[in-house]
Amino acid sequence: MQQVRTILLVDDDHDFRTQQKVMLEAHNYKVIEAENATAAIEVLNHQTPDLAVVDLMMEEHDSGFTLCHNLKKRLPEMPIIMVTGVAAETGLAFNVKTREEHRWIKADALLEKPVRAEQLHQEIKRLLKE
């Protein structure tokens, strides 16, 4: 039997977390929720998630970026998917495809909100090499 993979879900929007959690559990993942960066780091003291989904914009504008750095410092091997709802309206478009971008943005994939459930699942499968 395949082992159950654990996903850390960090977003300050309660509804977004609920929806992703329901969807991921339907695909047999175990989900740990965290509503801010502090709670996310706290999770690492007790558990080792296989992958993290992090919202870029939380209370502080760049807290998602900072959190990615801190998560990678603790668990360099854990893939991170960054989710953002700001790119369209700020023109703050960025990607994580080039090496230069990877130096600054410690995420392995980037998805724009609204995130389609299937799209998120595909990215998770790709990064977890399932």
């Binding site: 300050d12 929007d13 309660h14 509804d15 977004f16 609920t18 929806q19 329901v22 969807m23 339907a26 509503e35 209370e59 709802g85 700001v86 309206e89 700020t90 909100k113 609204p114 389609r116 459930a117």
Partner: protein, 320 residues
């Protein structure tokens, strides 16, 4: 631009005419030995800023130049202000867009889960999704209503009808409105006020201010907490004080309080509905009465908002 009137091929006024629209961005000072009042008037009419008759002393030249320079500075300052105003507007619309998109996204997400029947065929499994969707939509509606209120205030188009308002009665009404929400969480609301306290004001505006203050005091309170409303008239002011025993705010949070959409987001406010515009509206309303709104707060102890309206303003209003 210093422009001589008599030039070999055409005169200064003809040049101004040729410059046409461009002349508007230039400060033109006409210089001429053929000083006549007619030339001066015509040059000014065509767009010259000033007129300097020859011969002139260095001092005269300096004065004229300084005057022109001051004008340039003023024009630049105005342009800068207009630019900043535009930026504030853009920022407002950007944040507004984000605030409207968030609830839409949440509702869309729940609909998607229902459409794909992620939790099976039983509708009961989705009740929580429906409940959350309706809360998010309610929040969106509140935001739009507040936005319209604010726009009306800003445009100055809202018709104001200043009459003698019994502030005590208005406060009692606002308390009655907030009572169901307060009862649901065993919060008590008390009123301390003179038997009558009259103020010249617009009834709608007074209601909006009191409802805003009192409903906030309930919303951000703890269960079984207290809301104390106190109305007072001193020699110079009428003051409305609304104190709660709620979650309170840190000094840093208080600073951001009256800014649009600066709704304080933390674990304690996560489940409280708000548009982030209520206090900006309150501040604007207070300004209409040349009043002032201040806040004192202590985290986990409570918050007191004090609205002060100068009596002189009330008297002035009565003559309007």
């Amino acid at each position: 631009m210093f422009l001589d009137y008599k030039l070999p091929d055409m005169n200064g006024i003809e040049i101004i005419e040729k410059l046409g629209e461009h002349a508007k961005d230039l400060i033109i000072i006409m210089i001429t030995a053929y000083a006549s009042i007619e030339v001066a008037i015509e040059a000014t009419r065509k767009g010259a800023y000033d007129f300097l008759p020859k011969p002139f002393t260095p001092n005269e030249l300096r004065t004229v130049t300084r005057k022109a320079a001051e004008r340039i500075l003023l024009a630049r300052k105005n342009a800068q202000l207009a630019h900043e105003k535009k930026q504030v507007r853009f920022e407002f619309i950007r944040v507004l867009g984000h605030e409207l998109k968030a609830p839409l996204g949440a509702v869309e997400g729940y609909l998607e889960l229902m459409k794909t029947k992620t939790l099976g065929d039983n509708l009961d499994s989705y009740l929580q999704f429906i409940e959350r969707s309706s809360i998010r939509l309610q929040q969106m509606r509140k935001l739009i209503v507040d936005l319209l209120d604010m726009t009306r205030l800003e445009s100055g188009k809202k018709s104001r009808n200043l009459v003698a308002v019994d502030l005590r009665k208005a406060a009692e009404n606002a308390i009655e409105l907030a009572t169901p929400a307060a009862n649901a969480r065993s919060i008590s609301i008390s009123l301390e006020a003179p038997a009558t306290l009259s103020i010249m004001a617009d009834v709608g505006e007074i209601d909006m201010m009191l409802n805003n203050l009192i409903s906030n005091a309930v919303k951000y309170n703890r269960d079984e907490g207290k809301v104390m409303v106190r109305l007072e008239q001193t020699a110079d002011n009428i003051s409305v004080q609304v104190a709660d025993t709620g979650i309170g705010m840190s000094a840093e949070e208080q600073q951001k309080l009256f800014k649009e959409f600066s709704r304080i987001k933390n674990a304690k406010t996560a489940n409280i509905l708000g548009s982030g515009l209520g206090l900006s509206i309150l501040k604007r309303l207070a300004e209409l009465y040349e009043g002032n709104i201040s806040v004192a707060s202590e985290p986990d102890q409570g918050t007191t908002f004090t609205l002060t309206i100068p009596l002189s303003k009330c008297a002035e209003a009565s003559t309007t």
